[in-house]
Structures are given as C-alpha cells and as structure tokens.
Symmetry: C2
C-alpha cells in the first residue's frame, strides 16, 4: 500500500522532470491520482510510461501553445499545440465553463491533443460551478463498426456529471465499447477467455481469445450483433468520434495515430492528434437551480431505492462506487498492480527519482 500523498508527490516529480511547470505537473498528477482513487487504475499510474514515451519520442511537447482558433458565444475550437491531454484538457474544460457563465452553456472541441486520463475528471470539474459537465474523446482504433472486418473506432468514452442537492452527484463515465482494452488485457494476463460476443478475429468472426487485439482482431460495439442492438453501439461510438475529431479537425477513427505498437499507423505525416469535446451547462439554464437540484435528488433516490434482483444489494447510481472507492483509498492507501509498479520503477530509474518499496 502507498499513501495517496506519496504517489501524488512521485507523479508530480516525474512530470516536473519532463519539464512541465510546477502548476501543470501538479494538475497532471491530480488527474492520474483521481483515476487511482476512483478505482479506474487502467487510466491511472499505469499510463505514466505511455506519457513518458510520447514525450521521449517527441510526439508531444510539455510547453504547448493553447490556441483558440474559432469561437461563438457558446462554442470554441482549441488547438492543443501537440501538448499532453493532461495539460490541454483542463484549460479547454475551463473555457467551456467560462462560456457557460454568460451563454448558459459552453462547448469546446480540441484538436492536436493526446490521451487525457479519465473523461470523468473534466466532467466533474463543472460540478463545483453548479454546472453539468460533459466530456468525450476519441482514441486508438480498436472497435469494429457493425459489419466491418477491422477496428476503426476508439473505445471513445463519454462522461456526464450532474449535480444534485442533498444527494451526491450523478457521474457516468464509460467507454462506449462493451469492455475496455484494459479489461481484455487483464483477462489475457490471467489466462482467461473473454466472455462471448465482445471480440472478433481478423475475419470478423466472434472469438473469446483474449490475445486477439494484438493479433489482428477487434472489439465489437456495445450491444454486439444487430439482433442485440450492436448497430446502436456503432452509432454511439461514431457520434463521440465525430464530436471529438470532426468538429475539431483532429485525426478521426482509423486515422488516429496509435499509441499501441500492434495498431497500424494510418495517419502518416498527417498527425493532428486526437480530439476531445467538452461541455458545461449551468444548472439554472432550464429551471431555477433549486428546482433542478430537488429534481435530481428525487431521480437519484427513486433509482437507488428500486427493488433489486435476487443476489444484488441495490441498483447502483452512476458514480456511487467510484465515490466510495475515493473515500476508502484516501484513508487506507492505494495498492498498485504488478504492471503499474514495474512501469513506475522503470520511470524512477530513467529520471533518477527515488521510489519506495511497497
């Protein structure tokens, strides 16, 4: 077990060694540590080696220029200047929040950015301003559209954070694919098959082979086949890709520059980074804030108190498990997986920063 404070300090040091100013190093560490606390470790410190590698390969800069290219009262297009998403995304979300203060809502599309950690981090930033937050991003092309032989879309997450009154907020933060790549990696490392209907091989046939992503296979869309609504999952993942990348002019779908060595690079010299989309809506944009908060309290209580099926304790409100995990890990500490530990030790050597044994 490591304390939150210890890992935060270590992570901030790594970003400082990469050349980020102290404030931005702290911001980047906060995003990764929030993922650890919220038990989304696939987007936590496990990703640090990927960020270091992007920087070592000069794919990202740590002193990017943040440029507002085009705007209306409620929207803006930002060019992230090939900076880490962890630097650009917080500024873009702040811009959406500023727009919402005067226009009621604010919407910001970003290009020339890279992986930004958990989508929910930015959506939740809106909560402290009494706003609803929305985040989307595209990613490595691993998901096969309905009837496509190959992966062409990312696991493209959506996060929506909605404040309540007395109840804690509703925070949905989910990859639009049925499972994440990280989950399939875990099945593989445990020598387990992946449940039926989630993967396809290089010919588009369903498979349970957990190594298939590294061998020409792809994730299927949420829903699976057409009889089970898989074409709706395709629509959803496509919408996130278009909002994130076509709105902004970033690389879309199969042209995203991959960060995985087993995904074919179809971008060539045409690297406009990945794209994000941020939204902020004032809770008093439609009703008074008091009416809105009372309505959300009623919604949350109605679903939380629903009659559960046998063997389940309750219906889970999106955000509840992550919030409970935050409280527990902040108190009891954070256990790191073997993979995360190996990555951190390697980075500690590279940058000559001490790293305590667990």
């Amino acid at each position: 077990m490591y304390s939150y404070q210890y890992l935060f300090g270590f992570t901030q040091s790594v970003f400082e060694k990469m050349g980020l100013p102290a404030g931005e190093a702290r911001q980047a560490a906060d995003i990764l540590m929030r993922a650890e606390l919220r038990n989304i470790s696939t987007h936590g410190l496990m990703r640090l080696p990927e960020y270091v590698s992007l920087w070592q390969n000069k794919r990202v800069t740590v002193t990017p220029k943040f440029t507002v290219v085009h705007e209306t009262p409620s929207t803006a297009l930002v060019d992230g200047g090939k900076g880490l998403g962890l630097i650009t995304a917080p500024k873009a979300m702040n811009l959406a929040i500023e727009k919402a203060k005067t226009a009621g809502t604010g919407w910001v599309a970003v290009r020339n950015s890279y992986h930004f950690g958990i989508a929910g981090y930015y959506a939740m930033k809106a909560l402290e301003h009494d706003m609803i937050g929305i985040t989307m991003t595209n990613a490595n092309p691993l998901v096969a559209p309905t009837f496509s032989k190959h992966g062409m879309l990312g696991t493209n997450p959506i996060a929506v954070a909605i404040p309540a009154g007395e109840e804690p907020p509703f925070v949905a933060d989910f990859a639009t694919s049925p499972v994440s790549r990280g989950k399939v990696d875990v099945y593989e490392s445990e020598g387990k098959d992946t449940p039926d209907g989630l993967l396809q091989d290089g010919q588009g046939n369903t498979t349970t082979d957990s190594s298939i992503l590294r061998n020409g296979g792809a994730l299927r869309t949420l829903g699976g086949d057409v009889a089970h609504g898989g074409h709706k999952g395709f629509c959803l993942t496509s919408i996130v890709d278009i909002f994130s990348a076509v709105f902004s002019g970033a690389n879309f779908g199969p042209t995203v520059v991959p960060t995985l060595d087993y995904v074919k690079d179809k971008a060539g010299a045409n690297d406009r980074g990945i794209g994000h989309f941020f939204g902020a809506m004032r809770i008093d944009a439609f009703q008074t804030a008091a009416e809105f908060k009372a309505g959300m309290d009623e919604w949350i209580r109605t679903f939380r108190n629903a009659e559960p099926i046998a063997g389940q304790e309750r219906v889970i409100i999106p955000g509840d498990p992550e919030r409970e995990s935050e409280a527990k890990k902040m108190k009891d500490g954070i256990a790191l997986s073997k993979k995360s530990l190996e990555g951190l030790k390697k980075i500690a050597n590279t940058f000559e920063i001490p790293f305590e044994k667990q």
Copy 2:
C-alpha cells in the same frame, strides 16, 4: 399499396377532425408520414390511434399554450401546455435553431408534452439551417436498470443529424434499449421467441418469452449483463431520461404516465407529461463550414468504404437505409401492416372520413 399523398391527406384530415388548425394538422401528418417513408412504421400511422385516444381521454389538448418558462442566450425551458408532442416539438426545435443562430448553439428542454413521433424528424430539421440537430425524449417505463427487478426507464431514443458536403447527412436515430417494444410485439405476433439476453421476467431472470412485457417483465439495457456492458446502456438511457425530464421538470423514469394499459401508472395526479430535449449547433461553431463539411465527407467515405465481413455488402452509415427507403416509398407507395390498417379503419369510422381499400 397507398400513395404517400393519399395517406398524408387522410392523416391531415384526422388531425383536423381532432381540432388542430390546418397548418398544425399538416405538420403532425408530415411527422408521421416521414416515419412511414423512413421505414420506421412503429412510429408512423400505427401510432395514430394512440394520439386519438390521448385526445379522447382529454390527456392532451389540441390547442396548447406554448410557454417559454426560463431562458439564457443558448437555452430555454418550454412548457408544452399538455399538447401533443407533434405540435409542441416542432416549435421547440425551431426555438433551439433560433438560439443557435446567435449563440452558436441552442438547447431546449420541454415538459408537459406527449409522444412526438420519430426523434430523427426534429434532429433533421437542423440540417436545412446548416446545423447539427440533436433530439432526446423519455417514454413509457419498460427498461430495467442494471440489477433492477422492474422496468423503470423508457426506450429513450437519441437522434443526431450531422450535415456533410457532397455526401448525404449522417443521421443516427435509435432507441437506447437494445430493441424497441415494437420489435418485441412483432416477435410475439409472429409466434417467435425474442433473442436471448434482451428481456427479463418479473423476477429479473432473462427470458425469451415475447409476451413478457405484458406480463410483468421488462426490456434489458443495451449491452445486457454487466460482463457485456449493460451498465453502460443503463448510464446512456438514464442520461436521456435526465436531460429530457429532470432538466425540464417533466415526469421522469417510472413516474411517466404510461400510454400502455399493462404499465402501472405511478404518476397519479402529478402528470407533467413526458419530456424532450432538443439541440442545434451551427456547423461553423467550431471550424469554418467548408472545413466541417469536408471533414464529414471524409469521415462518411472512410467508413462506407471499409472492408465488410463475409456475407455483408458494406458498412452502413447511419441514415443510409432510411434515406434509400424514403426515395423508394415515395415512388412505389407505402404498404401498411394489418395492425396499422385496422387502426386507420377504426379512426375513419369514428371521424366519418372515407378510407380507401388497399
């Protein structure tokens, strides 16, 4: 086969007999006929008896007051005054479009409304203004949240229409449940089982019994069980419910006044109708319109030209099959199902309007 013009005229007459002014009767007929043309017959003339019944039972008025209750530069809350969704929704979408003209985007939440036909109709209204259109609505509580014994959410559709340049627009219009209630009704009327994983019985056990919705059962969320991402489907359907009903103050989730006799009415006297959510975004809100259109053309062509799996001709761009159906039915005519025909004949008798034999 009936011609488009004949059925349009008949439908407009029915709405006029209900007391709608000619312009609004024409608008309402246009929405239902668009569903017929687009081969979404479950939301076409098959619904006419439901609208007549809502009117006969004094659940809706045909001369509703359309009130803007609250607004910001980019948002508005509309009270539909208990009018048919077919009357209120077009006005609300127009308001979103007007807001977008000055603020870049426009977002309108509606309460005290009722079923509005196909969500895609309104989203597509934005296209002629060089805008992206977004529509959501909640509906009869038939979908069981993850781990819930009972149906608590509607099949809550989302529609997103996005203009392109030389290519036809991208139009996704889908219930967020894996199948629609109408599809299960069709399986039942044909004496067929529903594919595994889509339905649950009154105890929450999966079933293939196509009569289960009328017997205490529920639809499952998109994805199915947790291993297949069903909790993500729950998030998605919840977001549509909150945007449509909590933003607006309409009846949400299980408190929606049902239009189906086998769904328990939990609203009691507290009937604030169902809720809708409309969005319009100028295509030049993030980039220039020319850049945006070129980007969408590239997106559409990339996916349409993707390598298909064996046995499939191509990857289908959302909106393609519906657009092809429109052209065909406008030319060849529209075949009505037995259920639609029976409903129309009954209405023809009620209102003493002639109705030709097929």
